[in-house]
């Protein structure tokens, strides 16, 4: 697997007045396969942008497909894709990652989508259909013409999809009704605007639905795009060092003669943990829990802001 691939825009389709789909292919390399729920990261002039893949992973030959809603922001990635990208153009993408996998032990899968949040489910539904697994979709969307794949959805998933085209209060009432009826062994997946996700998660919590059966798509940055330098005081060594923008805290500590264990150097194994005594930390790992982040950091990827102090073992 490479760090990124140059892919060609093979096809662009206008799905709704504000949503376009893009199909990327590679003519000379085999693109890595992916699981339902994955996203790719596009390298755009305004930075890295993540989009869920919408194709069925089992049918993938050598293409990635995404659907993007134009947000109206002049500087946004979506405006750029909508206005400046044409069929035949070449774009850089990082290989797919999956923060939103299907839990295949589930007896039944319930998807809650709002607006463009439908995209990961489009891939998941076709995958589950291929496997003959049971699922349903609850889709809140402002109207029929705002709904991407409207005809296909009705043809393929007539018995699985419920639309929520009504006003806010009726919508809330109907969602709550469905959530109250969740049965043991059902996994719940949510993707949409923050307020929509929060509403469902909060209500599930009120119902006492087990947390590990609720899955939310939340994109997070994998890498700080512009690391800056900062100062660190190592309290129990009585030393203060500088970490330059081109080095990690782990490396800077090593250069200062303070060796701490490390393995992955990617923020996923937890080996290089230190205690944080003071200061603001930019956490950049996917290992520590929110609670652990209050007084710990992983030195291979996370950085301080200004001046921080830590303790090493």
């Amino acid at each position: 697997m490479e760090d990124f691939y140059e892919v060609k825009v093979q096809e662009i389709k206008q799905l709704t007045p504000t949503i376009k789909s893009f199909t990327f292919i590679s003519e000379n390399t085999e693109l890595p396969s992916f699981g339902a729920g994955s996203h790719i990261t596009l390298h755009l002039p305004m930075g890295m942008r993540q989009y869920s893949l919408i194709n069925n992973p089992l049918d993938m030959i050598n293409e990635y497909e995404i659907a993007v809603k134009k947000t109206g922001h002049l500087e946004s990635g979506s405006t750029y894709l909508h206005e400046d990208i044409y069929e035949g153009d070449v774009v850089k993408v990082s290989p797919p990652d999956n923060y939103f996998p299907l839990q295949m032990e589930g007896k039944h899968h319930v998807f809650f989508a709002a607006g463009i949040g439908i995209t990961p489910f489009w891939s998941m539904m076709s995958y589950l259909r291929s496997l003959g697994e049971s699922f349903e979709l609850h889709y809140a969307v402002s109207g029929q013409d705002a709904c991407p794949f409207y005809n296909e959805m009705n043809e393929r998933y007539a018995n699985q999809v419920t639309y929520y085209l009504m006003d806010r209060d009726s919508k809330t009432k109907k969602l709550k009704e469905r959530l109250r009826e969740l049965k043991v062994g059902t996994h719940v997946y949510i993707c949409g605007p923050q307020s929509y996700m929060d509403f469902i998660v909060t209500y599930c919590r009120e119902l006492g639905y087990p947390k590990k059966y609720i899955h939310e798509e939340r994109f997070k940055a994998r890498k700080l795009e512009h690391p800056t330098r900062f100062k660190v005081t190592i309290v129990n060594e009585k030393k203060t060092i500088q970490v330059n923008s081109n080095q990690s805290l782990l490396e800077a500590l090593h250069d200062a003669g303070i060796t701490i264990p490390s393995a992955c150097r990617q923020g996923i194994c937890g080996s290089c943990e230190v205690k944080v005594c003071n200061g603001e930390v930019l956490h950049n790992d996917t290992f520590l829990t929110a609670n652990e982040k209050t007084d710990k950091m992983l030195t291979c990827v996370s950085r301080g802001k200004g001046h921080i102090s830590i303790a090493v073992e």
Partner: protein, 317 residues
């Protein structure tokens, strides 16, 4: 079955040994490798599978999708990396894998059970030297859901089938210290799709026997009592497992492969650095780990042998 010293993955990078997450990211991501023991080891595997199928292959129904994915992945890797020995072709949903070394062919329709006579992992494992394990990544942890295991180092597939990652590791002394094994599990759950990580595990085996399952302990365990000052160099083998963890993208499960290598001490001590490192490692090995690895029974003979060899070679530590 010992391997040539040049192909032996010597495990010690330092002079002391403690459990640590010694995994490293592999580029390119590989789950299987071939050595020049290929034919002998495949033959032994086939014999073991024939004689004790229940002991060497187990699976839960939930693992089938991952088994398919693992088989396709492994055949693909073999054909890509050893094109002179293997080929793998796809036409629509139909696949053909050819093993030229064995003069065999496997044909199947992907995900169509009626097109194969054994479960996919049980087919794939017959073409590689590695033992193959599927760890299902579930909402409540990692579980051992399928395995083809011919060369275990004193454990039982039957015993661990369906077990969670932490429970599998309970026999290992000190493994929960500072939540070590909990952190390893968290690490595995963070492995990105298509990525492979590699680590080495080590132990010692008396004789060059690869198949040392818990089920036959009565036959091979007693050999540990037969080690003497005279035969230690010949009998005692350093056993190294090169383990790989690959995230299967489609199913999001983990393919865990174990390639076991054995090298007799007589062969090992030809390399001065290896000799030195092994000596210091054994010297500082904690009693509970020496006990767990079965070394305690012949540790004195082993240490004397290494010390004698060091002084004969004039190596100072």
């Amino acid at each position: 079955m010992s391997v040539k010293a040049e192909q032996f993955p010597f495990p010690f990078t330092e002079d002391r040994y403690a459990y640590s997450n010694n995994s490293s990211l592999q580029k390119p991501a590989r789950s299987v490798t071939m050595t020049d023991r290929y034919l002998e080891e495949i033959q032994l595997k086939r014999e073991l599978l024939q004689a004790n199928h229940q002991r060497c292959f187990r699976s839960l129904p939930l693992s089938l999708e991952s088994q398919w994915e693992a088989m396709r992945r492994i055949f693909n890797e073999l054909a890509e990396n050893e094109p002179e020995h293997f080929s793998f072709e796809k036409r629509g949903n139909e696949y053909r894998f050819q093993n030229l070394l064995l003069g065999e062919e496997e044909r199947f329709k992907y995900r169509d059970l009626s097109s194969i006579e054994r479960q996919p992992l049980d087919i794939a494992g017959r073409h590689v030297q590695e033992d193959l394990i599927i760890m299902g990544d579930r909402h409540d942890g990692l579980f051992l859901e399928a395995g083809q295991l011919c060369f275990p180092s004193n454990w039982s597939l039957t015993f661990v089938l369906g077990m969670d990652f932490k429970s599998i590791h309970t026999p290992v002394p000190g493994i929960t210290h500072k939540d070590f094994i909990g952190k390893v599990e968290r690490f595995i759950s963070r492995i990105r799709q298509n990525e492979a990580w590699e680590r080495k595990n080590w132990s010692m085996t008396i004789s060059n026997k690869l198949d040392t399952p818990l089920e036959t302990y009565a036959n091979w365990g007693k050999l540990r009592l037969q080690v003497t000052d005279e035969n230690v160099g010949e009998l005692v083998h350093l056993r190294v497992e090169v383990q790989r963890l690959l995230r299967l993208p489609l199913t999001n499960d983990i393919l865990f492969t174990i390639h076991t290598y054995l090298l007799s001490l007589n062969d090992l001590i030809r390399n001065d650095l290896w000799l030195k490192r092994l000596y210091t490692t054994i010297q500082f090995l904690s009693d509970d780990i020496a006990e767990y690895k079965g070394i305690a029974l012949y540790k004195n003979e082993l240490m004397q042998f290494l010390e004698k060899t060091l002084s004969e070679k004039g190596i100072s530590l």
